[in-house]
């Protein structure tokens, strides 16, 4: 059970909250200009971060207000709670660096590098023209 610190109500049980998915997914400036693929990616594709993740939460049985939270998806450590509309706190970088030392040193760097680096190397080895499509393709879609 997580103990989440609501900015309005203080510490409450996780059961009082609802998860709102990834934070800072900006609405496209001109949705009509997007291709179907870009629109689908905006709608349906979200990061699946291992480590510090910015996400939205709703205190649904308390003050019914939304807020943002930085949470480590491995350790469930809540690193920051900040209001909607404010940028992601910089403290996340330091916390993310510190996370591999906490005990997941063998798995964490390994899995994060394969997630981001592997598609780009395969794309450059095949042909430069396919780079654009493969980098815009979501990482999970190639699996």
């Amino acid at each position: 059970m997580l103990l989440i610190s609501c900015p309005n109500c203080g510490s409450r049980d996780e059961t009082e909250f609802h998860y709102g998915g990834q934070a800072h997914v900006a609405y496209p400036e001109n949705p009509n200009d997007l291709t179907d693929r870009e629109w689908a990616e905006y709608l349906f594709y979200r990061d699946n971060t291992k480590g510090t993740f910015a996400e939205r939460w709703l205190h649904s049985t308390g003050c019914r207000q939304w807020f943002n939270m930085l949470r480590d998806t491995v350790t469930y450590d809540i690193q920051a709670v900040y209001p909607m509309g404010t940028p992601r706190p910089a403290a996340a970088g330091a916390a993310a660096v510190a996370a591999p030392d906490a005990g997941t040193a063998s798995t964490a760097p390994d899995s994060t590098t394969t997630g981001t680096a592997a598609p780009s190397t395969t794309a450059t080895s095949i042909s430069p023209t396919s780079t654009a499509s493969s980098t815009t393709a979501p990482e999970g879609a190639t699996k």
Partner: protein, 211 residues
């Protein structure tokens, strides 16, 4: 906006109005342990849901009618038997005796609606939305702690504090009305469940304490 005009016609129905946990009345009486923990359903109350920015002009107008608006979580404002409970930064619950309702000769809903006027916000008559359980006695806190994660120790929650939280997995507004008494406001549809849940939680106190 409260449709107060339609309420004039319900006066004749007042006598057949039943509270959401009225069918539990005998069970509540049988399950209460006098001097240890007592549970009963409170009388009907007039309640109004208010959504207004408390810093705005209409917020101060409503505050003057309701007797103040609480500023932060847990606070209860109000005067003359009217309590204003904090539900959110711009959301409040006004609880008053039943006679304050417009259909029974009062003017609470109407005056709140008039205070809001055409400004952004809302005043909604929620008198039938929630019922009241009154839990009191030296063991009242122990009963609640079986299903409420909020710190109910007297050092952190003082009488006159109201929290929007969960008791027995039911969303309730929990008001600490005295040193050893609590008032729970569950929604009407949860009254049966919460009443039985509280009775079950109270059962052990009917038996002699095991040393």
């Amino acid at each position: 906006m409260a449709n107060t005009a339609a309420l004039e016609g319900i006066n004749g129905l007042r006598d057949i109005r039943r509270s959401p946990a009225s069918h539990l009345a005998s069970a509540l009486e049988a399950g209460s342990v006098e001097g240890t923990v007592v549970l009963k359903e409170g009388p009907f109350q007039t309640m109004a849901g208010i959504r207004v920015d408390p810093r705005s002009e209409q917020g101060s107008r409503i505050a003057s009618v309701a007797g103040g608006l609480p500023a932060r979580c847990g606070e209860v404002a109000g005067s003359d038997g009217v309590s204003v409970l904090w539900l959110g930064p711009a959301e409040f619950l006004v609880v008053a005796p039943e006679e304050a309702h417009d259909s029974l000769g009062g003017d609470l809903i109407g005056s709140l609606t008039a205070a809001l006027g055409d400004a952004p916000g809302q005043v909604v008559d929620l008198s039938a939305n929630r019922t009241t359980f009154e839990l009191s006695g030296p063991r009242a806190r122990a009963v609640l702690e079986k299903g409420c994660a909020v710190d109910l120790h007297p050092r952190s929650i003082k009488p006159g504090t109201a929290l929007n939280t969960e008791v027995g997995n039911i969303p309730v507004v929990l008001l600490k009305s005295g040193e050893e008494s609590f008032r729970l406001f569950p929604r009407a549809s949860f009254a049966d469940f919460l009443g039985r849940w509280l009775l079950d939680a109270m059962r052990e106190y009917a038996s002699p304490e095991v040393p």
